[in-house]
């Protein structure tokens, strides 16, 4: 009988205001500061997490893909035929960017471009895992990027979505919204058979799920039913019970309704265990990277498992009874978790859950 195909993360790389490289993303101090990249004088909020020396999005993405491929030990021959799934903000330039990156990075397999707002990257990872387990491909590069720029900043400001106290406080009392942040990441996913060439995997993608709220164009379902179904699908796919999850990197943006809806989803999906599993949202450290958030947070989650150190939930001002969760406070928590969930949600009621495992 054929061995089931297991999806492994063999190369990861990420860039955010926390720093360059995957390891830099484990820093525990929020990276927010005044925006100097463009004029914010007409905005209510003037703070974001930006990397001072960020290049163009195309250059940062190409560098991230190259770095992730190097970690995975992919030489030019092994990149040939490799698929590229890219998550970026939509518009006429998106597919041209993907074509350009494929040529620059020597990836000649299928290309797909995800523009599903804040679940773009996590959906791409779920799709990559499906393509591998279905046997369509042996290797996929997923890349995602968002660099804080004036148009989205103005839109989030106009929508009063940004935290006007300059702090992201996931699941906390007095949370006042999100802050944007740079995020560029790339990962290499491969079937276990492919990784037998001797590369040490960073993590496995053990399960994944995608589900819709069917509730509202831009508000989350307060019952969390859609996200709960995504979590349930990820656990079922992995064949694991809720108690196998040792950490949750939450979507929590620091927004009143969204964080409460996510807490409700966790209670539905994990039952009583929702109040026990250690949880944090690393958006309080690196900001919300929109289309790239799912991939940046996947990299953080995979490395947190690998190092046995769970990231802190920064910005905490006190408990909120709508979010009765085991939030990681003050400093990172040592743990021996073998599996972690990383969750994302977006406008349109789109939800994803990725279940990461130790190799």
């Amino acid at each position: 009988m054929a061995e089931p195909r297991v999806v492994q993360l063999t190369g990861v790389h990420a860039v955010s205001a926390l720093g360059r490289g995957a390891q830099a993303q484990l820093a525990g101090t929020p990276a927010f500061g005044p925006v100097r990249r463009f004029d914010t004088t007409a905005r209510r909020v003037t703070v974001a997490a930006t990397l001072p020396d960020a290049g163009t999005l195309a250059d940062e993405l190409a560098a991230a893909i190259d770095a992730a491929c190097r970690v995975a030990g992919l030489d030019a021959a092994r990149r040939t035929g490799c698929a590229l799934l890219l998550a970026v903000h939509g518009g006429p330039a998106a597919s041209a960017l993907a074509d350009q990156l494929a040529v620059r990075c020597g990836l000649s397999g299928r290309i797909r471009v995800y523009t599903s707002a804040c679940v773009s990257a996590s959906t791409a990872v779920a799709d990559a895992a499906t393509l591998i387990t279905r046997g369509d491909v042996d290797r996929v590069v997923v890349a995602a990027g968002y660099l804080v720029e004036p148009d989205q900043f103005a839109l989030f400001d106009a929508g009063r979505a940004l935290a006007d106290d300059g702090v992201v406080r996931p699941f906390s009392t007095r949370r006042r919204g999100l802050l944007l942040g740079d995020g560029v990441a790339a990962v290499v996913l491969e079937s276990r058979a492919e990784t037998r060439r001797g590369v040490e995997p960073v993590a496995t993608v053990a399960g994944w799920g995608r589900a819709g709220d069917a509730f509202h164009p831009c508000q989350p379902d307060p019952t969390g039913a859609g996200l709960a179904r995504a979590i349930g699908a990820a656990l079922r796919r992995a064949g694991l019970p809720p108690q196998a999850v040792g950490y949750v990197n939450a979507n929590a943006t620091g927004t009143a309704q969204s964080d409460a809806a996510e807490a409700a989803a966790l209670r539905q999906a994990l039952d009583g265990y929702a109040g026990q599993v250690p949880i944090s949202s690393t958006k309080a450290l690196h900001g919300h990277a929109l289309e790239a958030s799912g991939l940046l947070e996947l990299v953080v989650t995979a490395l947190a498992l690998r190092h046995g150190e769970l990231p802190v939930n920064a910005g905490w001002a006190g408990p909120d009874e709508a979010c009765p969760l085991n939030v990681i406070l003050e400093h990172p928590r040592r743990a021996t978790a073998t599996h972690a969930l990383t969750l994302n949600a977006a406008f349109g009621g789109a939800n994803t859950a990725l279940l990461v495992g130790t190799p």
Binding site: A98, R112, G159, G212, P217, G349, A350
Partner: protein, 148 residues
């Protein structure tokens, strides 16, 4: 063609809603979709909502303030969510920018979601906006209700 509550200026959302409604009515009458059926939405567009994006860009460049409705109008997920809420579509919401034939990209994504079991069927919407030409869209329902 009627407008869509909460969506302004651009024909993108009204056209998406019009083709989606027409498609869903043929299968489900006045709706909603039965609760045991998970219908995904795959929206494929190279242009995206060009009219809204241009308006935001010009407003920001001139130092003005954009209207708050453009906040959620700036991503195609939102109109997909409008349709999902109206019809009870509980499957995944996925938006793509096509890299080749838009229909082939959309069908491949729909096939993946159905294979994976996250969707029983998929409402595929293709839409393009271009300057000085009417917004064009088509919708098709792929798959057939809940899987046994």
């Amino acid at each position: 063609m009627s407008g869509v509550p909460g969506f302004v200026l651009s024909g993108f959302a009204p056209v998406v809603v019009a083709v989606a409604e027409r498609c869903l009515r043929r299968r489900y009458g006045t709706g909603p979709v039965p609760s045991q059926t998970r219908t995904g939405v795959v929206l494929v567009s190279a242009s995206g909502d060009l009219v809204s994006a241009e308006h935001v860009r010009e407003t920001v460049e001139s130092g003005g303030r954009v209207g708050p409705l453009f906040f959620f109008q700036s991503v195609p997920n939102s109109v997909a969510g409008h349709i999902a809420a109206r019809w009870g579509l509980r499957g995944p919401v996925v938006c793509l920018s096509p890299t080749g034939d838009p229909y082939a990209d959309g069908v491949a994504e729909a096939d993946l979601l159905r294979y994976d079991g996250d969707a029983d069927e998929v409402l595929l919407i293709l839409i393009e906006q271009a300057p000085d030409t009417p917004t064009e869209a088509v919708a098709v329902l792929l798959g057939g209700g809940a899987q046994p």
